[in-house]
Every structure is written in structure tokens, then in C-alpha cells.
């Protein structure tokens, strides 16, 4: 058996078989956001996640845009949640210390028809009171953004659009929730939910059972499966895949704001945007897939993304691509977010259908769900006095000034040992993310938290070092370190020289 060490955070209560006030299924940005909001109150909370890490579903593969909110229609739940969620990001980023930048966004129009759709977006923005949204003339756009196509006829500017690190955000939420008493069980797949007198009994793939008064369904592309375990089916999730390119930092200044294309009948277009780490992200396409694990990239769709992106930024340097990846949108058959209790099971609360802009909306969704949990538990939730909204910031050597770097090295010489030569991640940072609450247990887990391997060599240089550090810090053998989830083993045994005792 090849398993990395996991379930370090498995709840004490779970072991004792006691009942929880709230169990949240799914540790994506939605589930983690809900857990963190709930951890303000005097409640026993457990998050269940089938994967070996938090933020391992859709939250790790999306565009990472904190949408201003002009796009989602004001009469929909996702429109309202997006408009409410976006302004909450500044405070959250300050409290939880995750990467977030309000760099604004442009929607480009290439035809009269597209200009008309921009005007509709502005009307929508006005109803939702999205600040500062305005139409720009092509000259104005080109004066600031030299690399954009000469063909544009106009653009919508939204100053409050932003970018974030989605998995860093979710990890920070989970860490803060756990610091405030929430419990987290990884590698724990929910396979059944039964109603009981006091609430629910959840069964897991490993054979355990967990009792809870309230269940929150934040299971992403599996939210319908979870819902149907206990409530009358009324929606289906249809995974819609989106594929991306991620370009090297050396291409990082090709655009300095999020560049969308005007929505048309054919679709929403492809975006080109900086990432919080200085790379350029290009994508996504949109394609329904059957399999909810089908994260394949495909030649034809990548070609489509390339071509579509060139319409906005003609000389985009795809030669500087460092990785391609895909994410699955949890599109609901109701075509909107589903937030609230199931009609027939009041203590079972859905946070489902979290397609885009689910990330942008996540802070508002969490507030909404907390209200529903309050109702389900029969009234006012009691605030905890000792709730700490702050997460200890991590030191980022690469981003520090030379003086600060010298200081860091003086406090811990491991800051002078560069593990990842592309992103200049130091050993001290890797060790820190392993030992934090909700710490990294795999190579990808370390990468999501501290970024070694996220750069241009994609781990070629640093993965042996990261594995060595993981093994050392967790007291296991390097041969047992996983890339990500169970089954993602990296090494297959010792060489003859070692086995032969040479």
C-alpha cells in the first residue's frame, strides 16, 4: 500500500463518535468558506473531503478571477452573490493572508453586436451597483494596453475586478477554520446519508459513520449525488470542462489587467489575464463531459483556446507555455446557484451548482449558508469570544526586500537554502507549509501552498528536494511520498545498487 500520511486533522469528536452540529461535505473554496464563517460561532464543525487535500477539486483549476459582478444577471442568485462577494475580498485577504489583487478587468468588443452586449452588461452593472463600470473607446484602451488587438471597437472597464490564488484562499479558510476549532477529515468520502431523529448519519467509504444535526452539501460536481442520498432529486450537475494554458512569468507583462471577450451567442469567449504569481493564464473553452473526473486536456480544444485568445492579444507568446490544465464547472440543470435547505429535508443545506462566478461569490455564499444553519439549529447562533479571524502570514523570501531577506536568513538559515530555483522558494517556507494546520502532505500540496514546482521547470529540479523534505519532516520514506491523492505514487522502489546494499 502506498499512502502518504494523512488524516492528521481527523477530529477528536469523530473518533469518539459524538454528534456534530454541522458537517460540511466538500473542502473546496465553498465548503472551506462556510466552515470558516461557521467557526465564528459556538458550534462543533466537521469538514469531510474525499481527496487527500483541501482545494483539490474545481477550486484548484479555474480562471482565478474575482469578477467585478457586471456579468452575472442581476435577477439570478449568482448575480447577487457575485456582487456581494467581490467587495468582501479586501478584508478577507488582509485577515487570511492569501494573494489577491484588484487589477480591474476589460471586456473587449469586436463588432456592433458585441458593443450592444457590453451596453447590456453596463445596465446590469448599474442595477447591481457595481462601482466604476464604464465604456472605453478603442484609443483609450490602446493607450494603456499596447498588446491588445487593433480590431477592437470598444471595451467595458470594471475597476473592481480582481485576481486571487483560489487554492491559497481555500487553504487559508480551512486553516483558519481549524485554528478556530473546526475539524477536517481528508481522504473521507461520503457514501450515504440517512435521516435520524436528531439529524443525520453519514457513512463513509472507509466504513465509518458520523452523526450531525445539520449537513451542508458543498460537494462541487458531486453535489447532486450527495443531495440525492437524502432528499428528493430536483437538479442535476453537468460538468462543463474548461482548458487552459499557463505562460511563463517572462510573458507576464503582456497584459496587466483581466482581458475578457464580449459574450456572444457562441459563448463567453476566452480570457487572458495575469495571475497573482506573475504568470499569464489563457482560457477556458467550454465543453460538456460525461465523466466527473475527466480533467483531460485535448489537442483540438487547446488549439481553439489558442486561436480565440489571439483575437484579443494577437502576439500572445504560446511558446512560453509552462503547463496546460483543465477544470470542471459544476453546471446545475437549474442554471443558477442552489443555496438553501432542501424542500423536503430542512436541515440539509445545499451550496450547489457553483459554476463561475462561484469563487467570487464564495464569501457571500458562506454568509448565506450560515443564516440557513442558524435557522436549522433553531435560532441565533452564539458568537465565540475567542474567534481569531487572522491567520499567521507566511514569509515569502522571493518577494522580500534584500534587507528583509537578510533578516529572514538570520532568524532561520533554511531561508538561505533555495529549494525551487524558478520561484526562489526556500526550505524554510516548505517546512512551514508542512507543519501548519492543514499542512501539506504531498508534492502538489506543497506546491499549492508554497509554489515550488509552480514555475517554469514545473518541478523538474525541485521535486526530489521537496520529496526529501516531506519525508524528513513527516518521518516517512521518500519512496512513499505522493504527487497528490492516493495512487499518485512517484517512485517504484529502490535501484539495484541500493537494494544490493552497495
Amino acid at each position: 500500500m502506498r499512502y502518504g500520511p494523512y488524516n492528521h486533522f481527523t477530529g477528536s469528536r469523530m473518533k469518539r463518535g459524538e454528534m456534530y452540529d454541522v458537517v460540511i461535505i466538500g473542502a473546496g473554496v465553498i465548503g472551506c468558506g462556510i466552515a470558516r464563517e461557521l467557526s465564528r460561532y459556538d458550534l462543533s464543525i466537521l469538514i469531510l473531503e474525499k481527496e487527500g487535500d483541501v482545494a483539490d477539486g474545481t477550486t484548484k483549476a479555474n480562471s482565478a478571477i474575482v469578477h467585478a459582478g457586471f456579468d452575472a444577471y442581476h435577477k439570478t442568485v449568482n448575480g447577487q452573490m457575485n456582487a456581494r462577494g467581490n467587495p468582501m475580498y479586501d478584508r478577507l485577504a488582509a485577515e487570511l493572508s492569501f494573494p489577491f489583487q484588484r487589477i480591474g478587468s476589460l471586456v473587449l468588443a469586436f463588432s456592433e453586436e458585441e458593443l450592444a452586449s457590453l451596453r447590456e452588461l453596463i445596465d446590469n452593472a448599474n442595477v447591481l451597483k457595481i462601482p466604476g463600470v464604464e465604456m472605453l473607446a478603442p484609443e483609450t484602451v490602446h493607450a494603456k494596453h499596447a498588446n491588445l488587438s487593433q480590431e477592437i471597437r470598444g471595451a467595458l472597464w470594471a475597476p473592481t475586478g480582481g485576481i486571487c490564488g483560489p487554492w491559497e484562499f481555500a487553504i487559508a479558510l480551512a486553516e483558519n477554520a481549524v485554528e478556530n476549532g473546526a475539524e477536517l477529515a481528508l481522504n473521507t468520502q461520503v457514501t450515504g446519508i440517512q435521516k435520524t431523529d436528531a439529524g443525520f448519519r453519514l457513512s463513509t467509504a472507509a466504513g465509518g459513520s458520523i452523526e450531525s444535526r445539520v449537513v451542508v452539501n458543498a460537494a462541487g460536481v458531486y453535489a447532486d449525488t450527495i443531495h440525492n442520498m437524502v432528499a428528493e432529486p430536483f437538479f442535476e450537475i453537468h460538468p462543463k470542462r474548461g482548458q487552459y494554458f499557463l505562460l511563463d512569468k517572462a510573458a507576464g507583462d503582456i497584459v496587466d489587467t483581466v482581458i475578457f471577450q464580449a459574450p456572444t451567442k457562441a459563448g463567453k469567449g476566452v480570457l487572458v489575464s495575469p495571475t497573482v504569481h506573475g504568470n499569464i493564464i489563457v482560457g477556458p473553452d467550454a465543453e460538456y463531459v460525461e465523466d466527473r473526473e475527466d480533467l483531460r486536456t485535448t489537442g483540438p480544444q487547446l488549439d481553439y483556446v489558442r486561436q480565440a485568445a489571439r483575437q484579443s492579444v494577437p502576439n500572445i507568446p504560446f511558446g512560453m507555455n509552462i503547463t496546460t490544465f483543465a477544470g470542471l464547472r459544476a453546471e446545475s440543470s437549474t442554471r443558477d446557484f442552489i443555496i438553501g435547505p432542501a424542500d423536503d429535508v430542512p436541515n440539509f443545506i445545499n451550496a450547489a451548482g457553483m459554476k463561475s462566478p462561484g469563487l467570487s461569490a464564495a464569501p457571500a455564499v458562506a454568509e448565506e449558508v450560515v443564516k440557513h444553519v442558524g435557522v436549522a439549529l433553531g435560532g441565533e447562533l452564539k458568537e465565540r469570544k475567542d474567534f481569531n479571524p487572522h491567520r499567521r502570514p507566511a514569509a515569502h523570501f522571493a518577494e522580500a526586500s534584500p534587507e528583509k531577506q537578510a533578516e529572514l536568513i538570520a532568524t532561520d538559515p533554511r531561508f538561505a537554502r533555495i529549494v525551487c530555483r524558478c520561484e526562489y522558494v526556500t526550505e524554510a517556507e516548505v517546512v512551514d507549509v508542512i507543519h501548519r494546520k492543514v499542512g501539506a502532505r504531498s508534492v502538489d500540496g506543497v506546491k499549492r501552498r508554497a509554489r515550488p514546482g509552480g514555475g517554469r521547470c514545473q518541478g523538474g529540479f525541485c521535486s526530489p528536494r521537496v520529496m526529501e523534505i516531506l519525508a524528513r519532516e513527516l518521518g516517512t520514506d521518500m519512496g512513499d511520498v505522493l504527487k497528490d491523492g492516493p495512487g499518485s505514487y512517484i517512485l517504484t522502489g529502490r535501484t539495484k545498487a541500493v537494494e544490493g546494499g552497495m
Partner: protein
């Protein structure tokens, strides 16, 4: 601020040769800064034989080759610092580095030689479709796991790309008991040395499929299989030519890229073809007093030529420090002509040459019975018939320095004439 005459960035074979030669040519204070825990660079993981035929006239392993230079470095008492990562090189020849033992280090150099080597191209750089499971390694990373850490990376292996590291790893994995199913190469010719194709593939019955690429990686957690397909002349996979392999490992040997982040930071001009600095006959970059050699300038297939080039870089750096390098001399531009991908050096000041000018280059295609010709403003100064030339094997041309001093041409043009291009 610490002061040195010559600072060498990187302690691989290039850095070692440059340091030794700088000292032998009169530089007093020389220091080698190396980020790894030992000197020797990539050679330390190349435990196979095949190094040193030109320089030592014998076949050594990578570590043995490195050892000879490390020994000489020690004998000469040249200072070196390990676990010392250079973070910044500036045009004013200041350097910022860090190490766990010395903390933050600031150095003012009189001359700098950049010897940072290269890194491997990744899956992303070639955008292979499919899942992104464990079990996809660059060949060099796999080599490190197997040769340095003592771990195997897989049992059934397909290799994409026929660069030398991939070929060497095919043999290494086979020797370790893995089944190497195939090597797929997108180009109609191999990217590696002929001797490696014979010794690493033919001798182990490993098939090499030219004009083939990987069209899909299967397996969600760990590689479960790959599909390869033949490509047309535009390198697009042709439907109907797919072959499926059940395997747990995919190794990538799809090229090396000179590691020039530091050079960029110093404002050094780079050649878009090589990915390395534009250099002159002294291996001096566009920033006076900053030299470069080895894989950081262009990817070499034989370490002997790294050594040769780096000896020059080190010697010229010492001359620069002693103000013996003629800086405002007339400059000849050396350029790639028909059939040639790139040439190094890019510029030549004949006044600084000793007896010969060595030009390193790669051809763009496979040629049989063609002539390699160098013309100085149209006049032939070198011409030699070559039975076989391939992009995977660097070509070297030596030109009499006196000729250049007499002719003082504006341009040296290197081209391939006659012969036939071959699609193997």
C-alpha cells in the same frame, strides 16, 4: 561588500574550467559560487562512460571527469563556496548571493563568468494533451532519482524525445530491469548523438519511432498508458496512425534551455535561437566584463567542448581584469547562413585572437556529403566536406586567426553547400 577579481557563477564543468584558466592566466582572487551541495554540476548524475575523449583521450564517467577538474581547482587553491545561490548579477558587476552558512553575500567583481548551465524543457512547453498524473518525468529528473537518490521511477516506460539524456535513460532504465517500450521523436531525425542511439537503443532492442509524438497521456493518479502517433510534415499527428502503450511512466527528453534568468537581470543581450547570451571571441557578453560559457550560452552535447569554450572564457576574463583585452577593436559579425541554425561566437575582434578562432554551430537538418563553408565578406576562408551532419551533433570550425587579422572582414558567413538533406 567583498571584492574578487573573477567571480564564477556555477560550479559545473564550465565553471571549473573557467576558474582554473582564470587563475592560470594571472587572476589573483577567483571564487566559484555553486548552489548545490557539491561541485561538478550535471556531471555528478551522469554515471555512464563517455566523457573526456577529446580533453583526456580516455573515456571517463561524469563524476570522474568532474573530479579531475575539482582536484586541479583544489591544487590551485581556488576558493569555492557551496550551497551558495546567486540571486542577482548586475551590470556594474556586483553580485548578490545567499548561503545558509554565510547568509546574505554581496560581492563586487572585476569580471564575472556566467556558467549556470541549462534546464530541461517540460511537458508544458510542448503541451501534451491528456491527464496530468504522477509518472511523467523529465529525463534529467528521472536520472537524478535513479543515479543520485537510488530510486526507480517506473516499470514500463515510454520516452518522448530522442535527446541524449532520454537515450541514456532508456538504457539506464533497461539495466535496472524496467521495460522500455518505445522512444518517440517528433522530428524526422534524432536529437541525440549517433553513438547514443546505437549504444542505448539498438543494443537493447528499444524501438525509435521518428516523426512520432505523444497524443495522449492516460491515468488519473499515475500514468496508465500513452498513445503515440505519426506526424505529417507540419508535425501534426495523423489520425489512424495511433499506437497505444500500457505503461506507468513517461520520460521527456524534449530539449534543454540555457538558464539565463540572471543574465536577463543584468541586461545582457540574448540570442533568441540559442537562448543564451550573445558573445564575442572572448566569450564576453554584451555587458563588458561579464563573460559566459558552457550550456548557459548554447547547449553542448559533449562536455569536452564545454571545457574548451570555458577555458577560453576564463583566460579572457583574466586578461580583461589585467586590461589586456582590446575592447575598441574592429568587430566582425559572424552569422549563420544556409543550413545553419546558429553560430557562437556572434562577434569577433581579431586583435584578441591567439592563433585560431573556433566557431561552434549546429546545422538545421541532416546533411550527407555536404560542404561546411565559411566566407569572409564572400571570400572562402574555410571549406570542408562532411559525410554526415545532424542537428544533434555540434559542428566546430577552426579558422586561422592571421587570415582574419589580414582580411579584416565585416562579416563571417557560415553555410552548408551542396550535398543532400536526409530524412532518416
Amino acid at each position: 561588500m567583498q571584492h574578487y577579481e573573477v567571480v564564477i557563477v556555477g560550479g559545473g564543468p564550465a565553471g571549473l574550467a573557467a576558474a582554473i584558466e582564470a587563475r592560470k592566466n594571472g587572476a589573483q582572487s577567483v571564487v566559484v559560487l555553486e548552489r548545490d551541495r557539491e561541485l561538478g554540476g550535471i556531471l555528478q548524475q551522469c554515471i555512464h562512460h563517455g566523457f573526456g575523449l577529446v580533453v583526456f583521450n580516455e573515456e571517463l564517467t561524469g563524476p570522474e571527469y568532474a573530479e579531475r577538474f575539482i582536484d586541479e581547482l583544489m591544487e590551485l587553491g581556488i576558493e569555492y563556496r557551496l550551497e551558495t545561490m546567486v540571486l542577482e548579477v548586475n551590470a556594474d558587476k556586483t553580485i548578490r548571493a545567499i548561503s545558509p552558512s554565510d547568509g546574505m553575500i554581496e560581492i563586487q567583481a572585476k569580471a564575472i563568468v556566467l556558467n549556470m548551465g541549462c534546464r530541461e524543457r517540460t511537458r508544458g512547453a510542448i503541451a501534451i494533451p491528456g491527464f496530468r498524473p504522477a509518472g511523467v518525468f523529465s529525463a534529467g529528473t528521472a536520472q537524478r532519482f535513479v543515479n543520485m537518490e537510488g530510486y526507480m521511477v517506473g516499470k514500463r516506460v515510454v520516452i518522448l524525445g530522442s535527446g541524449d539524456i532520454g537515450l541514456i535513460m532508456a538504457r539506464r532504465m533497461a539495466l535496472e530491469g524496467a521495460k522500455v517500450l518505445a522512444v518517440a521523436e517528433i522530428m524526422p531525425y534524432s536529437g541525440g548523438l549517433t553513438r547514443n542511439i546505437v549504444q542505448c537503443l539498438h543494443d537493447y532492442d528499444i524501438p525509435l519511432y521518428l516523426s512520432h509524438t505523444i497524443t495522449e497521456v492516460r491515468g488519473k493518479e499515475r500514468v496508465e498508458g500513452v498513445t503515440i502517433a505519426e506526424v505529417d510534415e507540419n508535425r501534426k499527428p495523423m489520425t489512424g496512425t495511433e499506437k497505444h502503450y500500457d505503461c506507468d511512466t513517461l520520460l521527456l527528453s524534449v530539449g534543454l534551455i540555457p538558464e539565463n534568468e540572471l543574465s536577463r537581470g543584468a541586461g545582457i543581450q540574448l540570442d533568441p535561437v540559442t537562448g543564451g547570451p550573445i558573445v564575442n571571441e572572448a566569450m564576453e557578453t554584451s555587458v563588458p566584463g561579464i563573460f559566459a560559457s558552457g550550456n548557459v550560452v548554447h547547449v553542448h552535447d559533449l562536455v569536452d567542448w564545454v571545457t574548451e569554450e570555458s577555458r577560453r572564457a576564463g583566460a579572457y576574463a583574466a586578461r580583461y581584469v589585467q586590461n589586456k583585452l582590446v575592447e575598441d577593436a574592429s568587430v566582425i559579425a559572424s552569422r549563420p547562413g544556409d543550413g545553419i541554425g546558429y553560430v557562437v561566437p556572434h562577434k569577433v575582434r581579431p586583435e584578441n585572437l591567439n592563433d585560431k578562432l573556433a566557431i561552434f554551430m549546429r546545422v538545421k537538418e541532416v546533411f550527407h556529403d555536404a560542404k561546411l563553408v565559411v566566407k569572409a565578406d564572400g571570400e572562402v576562408v574555410y571549406s570542408r566536406k562532411k559525410r554526415h551532419m545532424a542537428p544533434g551533433e555540434m559542428e566546430i570550425v577552426q579558422i586561422d586567426a592571421q587570415k582574419l587579422k589580414d582580411l579584416k572582414p565585416a562579416e563571417l558567413l557560415v553555410s552548408v553547400e551542396g550535398g543532400e538533406t536526409v530524412h532518416v
